[in-house]
Structure formats: C-alpha cells, structure tokens
C-alpha cells in the first residue's frame, strides 16, 4: 500500500482507469460476439435461400442428383420426409434466430416456397422442412457458425460499470481524505478549545502525518505560550497583591479620614484592575463542568444582587427547560452585561427568548448607546470608548471581552446593537444544539 498521499491518489486513478478499461473491453467483446451471431445467421440464411432457389429451378431428376451432393458441414439435404409441423407458417420463430428467419424471408420474397418450417435441433443447428412450389418437400440442416446465449442488454452493463466504479472511488477517496478531514476538524475545534487532545500522528499518508505532527507541535507551542503569559501575569498580580494589602493597612492607620477615603478609592480601582486582569488571563474556567442550569433562578439571583447595590433590573419572558452550561461562567457573563447596562444606561431590561435549539438573552438599557463604528471594538480586551475612559466610571475594558469569551465557550455569541429609540442592546445567543454531555 503506498504511504504517500501522492502515491495513493495515483494508484486510485490508475486502478479506476484500469477498471474502466476492463469494462470497456468486455462491452467491446459483447458487441463483437453479438455481430458474430448476426453474421453467422445471415450467412446461413444466404446458403439456405440459394439452395431453395436452386432446387426450385431444377427438374425432379436433377433435384435428386444435386441433393445427394449437398452433404457438407454447413448445409446438408436430408432424405425427404413429410413434415409433421407443415402447418406452421414460419412466423413465430424463436427470437434467438430472428435474424436468420427474417433474412431468409427477404431473400425469398420474390418466389417464396409454399411453407418453411424451422426447427432448432441444437444450439448450433437448424433443421428446415421446405415445401417447394412444385410440391417437392425438402428437408435440410444447416449449421450456424455461432449461436451464443443472449447477453444482457447494454444499459445494464453500463449501470453495473457505473456502480462498481463509483463504489470503488467512494471507498478509495474516503480512505485517502479521512486523515485530512480529521485534521481540518481538529483545526476548527482548536479555535474553540485550545486544550483538545493532540491528534494521532500515526496512520494516514506521509504528507498528512507531517501536517498532523506540525499541527500538534503548533498546538503545544500555543498552549505553552498562553501558559507562559498567564504565569507572567499571575506572577505580576501576585506581587501586586501584597503591596496593595500593605497600602490598605497603611491607609487604615492614617489619621486623616479625607485622605483615607481617597486612598481607598484608588486602591479599590487598582485591586479591581488586578483581579479582572487575572480573571481574564485565566480565561473561562476549563475545570467547571457543563451542568443543567435553571436559568430563571440565575437571572433572578443577578437581579437580587443588582438590587442590593441599588440597580433596577426587570426580567421579561421565561425559559422552558434548563440550559446545559457552566453556571459560574454564565452568571459572570450576564452579570458583566447587566453591570454595563446599569453603569452606562441607568437601567437594564432582560428579555428572555427560548426555543428548542437556542436561548437568547437581550440586555437592553436606556443609555446613549455606542457609536456604530465602535460596536465591534468594544468587545476587544482593554478597549474603552473615549467617553468612558474617565476614571470615575472605573471600567477595566475587560467586562465585555470576558462575556464574549464565555458566550463562545458555550458555542454562542455576543453582539451589540444600538436601538432606534436610543439605548444599547446586548444580544447573547446560547445555542442548545451541540451541547456537551453533562459531567
């Protein structure tokens, strides 16, 4: 078996070509065979017709003498005897000798004998009982050079050829392309989950094996790269946590409560930046299992938490059945969107739409919206609108990125639209199809 993709493709083409040729040859033979049968029948008919014409023209004495001479291998005159089937008119011949009989008919059209009865004595032999116009009965026997079995019709041949070659091509091409297909699937999957298990490097054509090895090592490098960066950030933020804690303690030990409050405000901001960055770098928790989540209680808990902080959220719509997802991640995702709506849009309405294959959450606020050319940019990490860069709003520019990451982990998507009557709408689609098995 060839080991390279090139070799495999080449042998498949070669084999297919060979098979087509073989079938063509068999069709050719079939046709040749058929024409041989025809020729044999025509020639036999010619001989018989000539003999009948000759015998018809002769006197009875000469008939006897001539008849004795016709004793060759191809045509014999037998001792005459009255035919038992003399009534048969020679119309309903066996289809196998249709050509013979019709040719005979044509050749004797100008002076047909009184009757001709054709009998097939063996596949190769025909016996004829002819009653000539002068009343003489003539019995003869002729050989057909070849009288093969009737072959199946040509279209059946074509069909069989088509099916066999198609089946062969299907199996063969599938065999060749399967490793490539697996590679393509893995590449697609990698976008969603960097930690998919590496592909099997053995098996498949050499070219695909090389690509697979390269793919696996690329994945390993990517994972290492992400790990390095995460570790670096974790190290920095770990190192920042102790000074922040010290500063907090120093602030508490300060006498001046005005300065204390300002320090605390700055420290809160620093702390939230460190924590959110860490959160984002850690990414969506890979360990958290997919579990059936009662989404309505999740939304109500977010509503209650917001209420505690003085934010008003109203919820419309309902969910038909639990959603299979990562509960903590989902809560964080929706909380981020709700917080955003409350911060920039004063209030938040949560509209729930549920169907068998997707649940959609719309978080609508009554703020100023986002300039339409910035709608996609605000989903990028650390991207903040000029108007919100102002420190007082305290955004880190990561909330929406984290929300989008979480949506994508669930195979869903997050998009932002400005509403015609003002306000921003965040649409979170969470497909129910292709959900993972609960752990």
């Amino acid at each position: 078996m060839p080991r390279t993709l090139f070799g495999r493709m080449f042998s498949i083409l070669l084999l297919g070509l060979f098979m087509a040729q073989a079938f063509n040859r068999s069709i050719h033979q079939y046709q040749h065979h058929k024409s041989a049968i025809q020729t044999g029948q025509i020639q036999a008919a010619q001989r018989v017709a000539d003999l009948i014409r000759l015998m018809s023209a002769l006197t009875p004495e000469t008939k006897q003498a001539i008849a004795a001479q016709f004793n060759g291998p191809m045509l014999r005159i037998l001792p005459s005897k009255p035919s038992a089937a003399s009534h048969r008119n020679g119309e309903h011949y066996n289809p196998r000798i249709k050509i013979f009989s019709s040719t005979l008919h044509v050749l004797l059209a100008d002076q047909p004998p009184v009757s001709i009865v054709i009998n097939e004595t063996s596949p190769q032999k025909l016996s004829l009982n002819v009653q000539l116009r002068d009343g003489t009965a003539l019995a003869m026997e002729t050989d057909l050079t070849s009288l093969g079995e009737e072959e199946p019709p040509l279209w059946l041949h074509h069909l069989i050829v088509l099916i066999v070659i198609s089946a062969f091509s299907f199996v063969a091409v599938n065999w060749v392309s399967r490793p490539l297909q697996a590679l393509a699937n893995a590449a697609e999957e990698l976008g969603r989950d960097i930690h998919i298990p590496p592909l099997d490097e053995d098996g498949g054509p050499i070219e695909v094996m090389r690509a697979t090895r390269a793919f696996n090592s690329m994945q390993a490098r990517l994972i290492r790269h992400i790990k390095d960066r995460t570790q670096l950030l974790a190290a920095i933020s770990h190192d920042l946590k102790t000074p922040i804690t010290r500063l907090r303690l120093r602030t508490e030990l300060l006498g001046n409560s005005d300065i204390q409050a300002r320090f605390q405000h700055d420290l809160d901001e620093m702390e939230s930046m460190v924590m959110v960055t860490l959160d984002f770098m850690r990414g969506v928790d890979q360990q958290e299992p997919f579990q059936p989540v009662d989404m309505m209680t999740l939304l109500e808990s977010i509503q209650a938490d917001a209420q505690e902080m003085g934010g008003a959220i109203d919820i419309h719509g309902t969910m038909q059945s639990p959603y299979l997802g990562k509960p903590t991640a989902l809560k964080r995702c929706i909380t981020n969107l709700v917080d955003n709506a409350l911060k920039y849009g004063q209030c938040a309405s949560l509209l729930v739409e549920d169907s068998a294959d997707c649940c959609t959450l719309r978080i609508v606020d009554q703020g100023a919206g986002i300039p339409s050319d910035q709608l996609e940019n605000v989903l990028l990490p650390y991207y903040r609108l000029e108007s919100s860069r102002n420190r007082d709003t305290g955004g880190t520019g990561l909330g929406l990125s984290i929300a989008q990451d979480i949506a994508q982990v669930h195979g869903g998507n997050l998009s932002l639209n400005n509403l015609p009557n003002g306000g921003l709408e965040a649409v979170l689609t969470l497909p129910r199809v292709d959900q993972r098995e609960p752990v």
Partner: protein
C-alpha cells in the same frame, strides 16, 4: 475580661508589622511570627485565641501548619492567601481553617471575620463546629460553597443571590438552632439590628421560595413564634 491574643504568621515583614499595628489599634494583643517554627514556639509558650495564617510560607506552608495544628488544638485559624484560587479555598477549608481571606483584603473585613470567628467560638464552645466542606447536603438539596449554587438531586443548578447564599450559609452553620432576627442580621450583614427591620423576613421568604419550601407550612426553615427562625434539617457532608 482578658485581652484577646492574636498571632499573625506571615513571612512579609512589612505586612506582618502593619497587620500587628492595625490589629493592636483595634484593641487586640498581637504577636508576630515569620514562619512555622516561630509560630510553634509562640503556641508552646502562650495562650493564643486566634491565628491569622498566611498560606505561602517558607518551609512548611500554611496548609501543613493548619493540618498539624488541628491534630491537637482547636485554636481558630483565618487563612490568608494571595492566590485567590478556588482550589486554595477548598483545600484551606478542608485543612480545618475557620475562614479564608484572599489578598488583597480590606482590613476592615479581616477585622469583621476575626470578630465573627471569635464570637462563634466563645459564644458556643459546646455546640458542634460548623462543617467545613465544599459540599453541604441538607433536605433534598446540595450547596456548593465554592460556586455558591444549590443543586437538586438530579444535578440541576439553582442559582442563589449573594444575600440568599449568606443567609442560607448562616442557617447551615447553625443547623437546628433557633436564630433571632437580630442574630440573623448580625451574622449575614454584620449590621446592628433595628427592631423594626423586617428585611430579614423578606429574605427568608425569598430563600424559602428558592428551596421550594411552602411559606404556609415550611419544613426546611421553620418560624419559631416570637423567637426567630430555625433550620430544621440535618446538614451533612454526604447526601
């Protein structure tokens, strides 16, 4: 009443000194230790009421120290860590720490936790310790104290708001004991109770609804007339 004696164990000198100053300023007697060995020698010589223990220490780390301590002592421990990983929290709780503070923490919150742990220990030395486990089982529910979600027997996740979780956790920590409105307010929010404050009743009714407890005939959180509320079900580490 003798001064409460705290022991702060942290390898960061600056932080250790600042913590000492802060806690002294708030009326505690404080000793400082830089590592496990110093901690052991303090414990051998003096009566310590509570240990604030850093997780990351040279030599034996906080988890090892806490586990060794639990083998022969019930001194309450509040664990400090800079990692803030949920696994740390789980392991810390299971090693026997009474509470857990991720760095950077708000000193006032640390103070509140110290008070709350001390009160729990001093007020009721005979009552059983609250169970420290990631998963708490009660009635037909399971509470995940890390993700702060409820789970039904079928594994359906029922989310809790922060207030609902705090209230439920207080009930689970004081299972089968009557808690007055004042105690509940104090334990959930650290607030001084206002005699006319009915907010706790609103929260109880919300929590009952979450737990599927009929408000007219509750079976999990029962009302004790003119006294308060009681969680009347067993709480365990296994279903």
């Amino acid at each position: 009443m003798p001064e409460t004696h705290l022991l702060v164990v942290d390898d960061d000198t600056e932080l250790r000194n600042l913590l000492g100053d802060y806690l002294r300023k708030n009326g505690y007697r404080v000793s400082l230790a830089a590592n496990g060995l110093e901690m052991q020698s303090f414990l051998a010589e003096q009566a310590i009421d509570l240990i604030v223990l850093d997780l990351m220490l040279p030599g034996d780390d906080g988890l090892v120290l806490c586990r060794n301590l639990r083998a022969h002592s019930n001194i309450p421990v509040i664990m400090l860590t800079a990692r803030g990983d949920e696994t740390d929290r789980i392991v810390g709780l299971e090693m026997g720490a009474d509470d857990y503070m991720p760095k950077p923490f708000n000193p006032r919150e640390l103070l509140a936790r110290i008070k709350s742990v001390l009160r729990r220990v001093q007020a009721s030395p005979d009552t059983p310790e609250p169970i420290n486990s990631r998963h708490l089982y009660f009635a037909h529910w399971q509470l995940d104290t890390v993700s702060r979600n409820l789970l039904t027997k079928d594994g359906l996740v029922v989310a809790l708001s922060g207030a609902e979780y705090r209230l439920l956790k207080v009930f689970l920590d004081h299972a089968n004991r009557i808690l007055s409105r004042e105690q509940l307010l104090d334990l959930t929010l650290g607030k001084e109770a206002d005699p006319f404050d009915r907010s706790i009743d609103v929260q109880i009714s919300r929590l009952r609804q979450r737990l599927g407890d009929n408000a007219k005939e509750p079976v999990i959180i029962k009302t004790v007339r003119s006294e308060g509320y009681i969680l009347s079900t067993e709480v365990g580490m296994q279903p």
